[in-house]
Amino acid sequence: MDNRLEKIVKVLQEKASATYEEFRGELHIFINPGQIVDVLTFLRDEHQFSLFSAMTAVDYWPRQNPRFHVIYQLTSLTQNLSLQLRVPVNEGQLKIPTATQVFQSANWREREIFDMFGIEFDGHPDPRRILMPDDWEGHPLRKDYPLGYEEPQFTFNFEEIDLRKPYAKE
């Protein structure tokens, strides 16, 4: 690990009781949902992690505690460093604080995570779906959401299948 990152990890271990993992030279720091805004602000202001590279989530269904990990990928342009914060989210409490006050780009990324995983962000300025239609039911990227398929139509059963095909409603 880079010694500049080592210092950050030490501070976060003391302040936010963080744990960390390393894989292929990447640093993943685990943070509690309650402290994520403070940690993001700290990294942005004290350690110049000014670029909010990516934000996404992973579903570990059927595991319940934690069921999701919300992932924040940060980049420091001045130090040329990257690190990843991971916030575990339990099935019962699908609500974590929003990061929009710290990074503007979290706005759409959080809408996308809400849309795809159903994790809500407390204090989000615009909590609507973003990619799926407004009246869509379910959250497609969850592991308990089926992928879906299309029945192939052949000459002998073309009309029979055509009747039950879910075309867009007029």
């Binding site: 894989f23 292929r24 990447e26 993943h28 000014s50 670029l51 909010f52 590279s53 990516a54 996404t56 992973v58 579903d59 992932i71 990928q73 342009l77 040329n80 990257s82 990843q84 990074f103 503007q104 780009s105 706005n107 759409w108 795809m116 300025p125 615009d126 609507r128 779906r129 973003i130 990619l131 799926m132 239609p133 407004d134 497609p140 990227l141 992928l147």
Partner: protein, 411 residues
């Protein structure tokens, strides 16, 4: 009243996004798109207008959502690559590169030098092709019709090169984990040299048509200003960010695929307006051409695929003579290869900015989770900020200048 009359949108669900004046009916909510020729795909913009001045702009995306991330979870690592071409349809080679680099990082796979150099040549040609489409369409939006035709003429040469190496003009899937699909044919070098010979003069032609054209300059100068601080806060990357004065190019600061061997500049500008973004991209085409020429001059000779048989299929000639190879080939195309239960994030510089792939394996042959951090998503998010207070006609120029690809945004 005829049914084709202009219809206002009710404030209803957009109450928290519009100003007080929209509620009282003083300003007007109007749709622009999704089928508007200047929105570069299917982008719907909800505009709050005071006369012709934009008070608020609310982008509505998702019309091209195809569930690529979900679909990739159901395919093996090799098969999932086919979907990457279809994300950002102007940057197929670049998407392939981002994906195969992520897979290579996850399973720790080597890439021979010749394959690396070929990847550099082809992704840089792709960058030029993408910028040509951008230049053509952005100029077309500003009523410069002829530039569009010239740009597509040159793009055709690049697509012919892609067809030569991969058999496909756009959906190439030419890069594979561990190398490239096969070695390039003998005609490849002459075709690329031909392009290197003619293209600099063609860029001069575009610049003659646009850079010093007062009609064009009047339309693009000082509008759509984006400050460096806003660019960072909104996560804007690529040429848009460099036009705002932030010198950050992943090819330079975190070289991959041997970019450190090539001598090139990263064009930047400090003005942050539409003109600056135009100038940065035009210079980027010249720099990309420099990289292509250098890479072609020192193109190493050797294998184009790793010989790690656990991940890369053996050559056809070995399958007839070696039982081991036959087994490997069979296992790879029926089962796929397993990847460790871990996650990585790998990013490349696409023509639009940082194209990142978050890839998580679960020990099996299929990815557990793939997330595409696509640059256009963030680049579009900044549009409401930079279009505020401008005229609708300027909005067309601004959308053109941020170079969005809706396939890249909606995934």
């Amino acid at each position: 009243m005829s049914e084709y009359q202009l219809q206002e949108i009710p404030v209803g669900p957009y109450r928290h996004l519009v100003s007080e004046r929209a509620v009282s009916g003083e300003t007007m909510l109007l749709n622009m798109g999704p089928q508007h020729p200047s929105t570069h795909g299917v982008l719907r913009l909800l505009l709050e207008l005071d006369g012709e001045v934009i008070v608020n702009c609310i982008p509505d995306i998702g019309f091209l959502h195809t569930g690529v991330e979900k679909n990739m979870e159901a395919k093996t690592y090799q098969k999932a690559e086919v979907m990457t071409d279809r994300l950002d349809y102007m940057n197929n080679m670049g998407n392939n590169l981002a994906y195969v680099m992520a897979v290579e990082k996850l399973v720790d796979l080597d890439v021979p030098p010749r394959a690396q150099a070929l990847r550099v040549i082809l992704t840089e040609l792709q960058r030029i092709a993408s910028h040509l489409v951008w230049l053509g369409t952005a100029a077309l939006d500003l009523a410069a019709m002829s530039v569009f035709l010239y740009c597509f003429r040159e793009r055709e040469i690049i697509l012919d090169i892609f067809e030569l190496v991969s058999g496909q003009r756009m959906m190439t899937t030419y890069f594979r984990p561990g190398g490239v699909w096969r070695d390039v044919p003998v005609e490849f070098e002459a075709a690329v040299r031909n392009f290197i010979r003619i293209f600099p003069k063609r860029i001069d032609e575009y610049e003659a048509l646009l850079t010093n054209n007062p009609l064009f300059l009047d339309r693009v100068a000082i509008i759509g200003k984006l400050s460096a601080q806003d660019a960072l806060s909104y996560g804007v990357t690529g040429p848009n960010m460099r036009a705002s004065g932030v010198d950050w190019d992943l090819r330079k600061v975190r070289p991959y695929m041997g970019y450190e061997q090539y001598d090139f500049n990263v064009p930047t500008d400090t003005r942050g307006d539409v003109l600056a973004r135009y100038l940065v991209r035009v210079q980027e085409m010249r720099e990309s051409l420099k990289i292509v020429e250098q890479a072609l001059n020192k193109l190493p000779i050797g294998p184009v695929r790793s010989d790690n048989r656990k991940f890369v299929p053996p050559p056809r000639s070995e399958i007839g003579t070696s039982m081991e190879s036959l087994i490997h080939h069979f296992k790879l195309w029926t089962d796929g290869f397993p990847a460790p239960k871990a996650s990585i994030y790998s990013a490349v510089e696409s023509p639009r900015g940082e194209l990142g792939v978050y890839l998580e394996g679960d020990g099996g042959p299929k990815p557990y989770r793939v997330h595409w951090r696509t640059p256009s998503f963030e680049n579009l998010e900044v549009l409401p900020l930079i279009s505020k207070g401008h005229l609708v006609a300027d909005l067309v120029a601004i959308i053109g200048s941020i170079d969005i690809v809706l396939g890249d945004i909606d995934r």
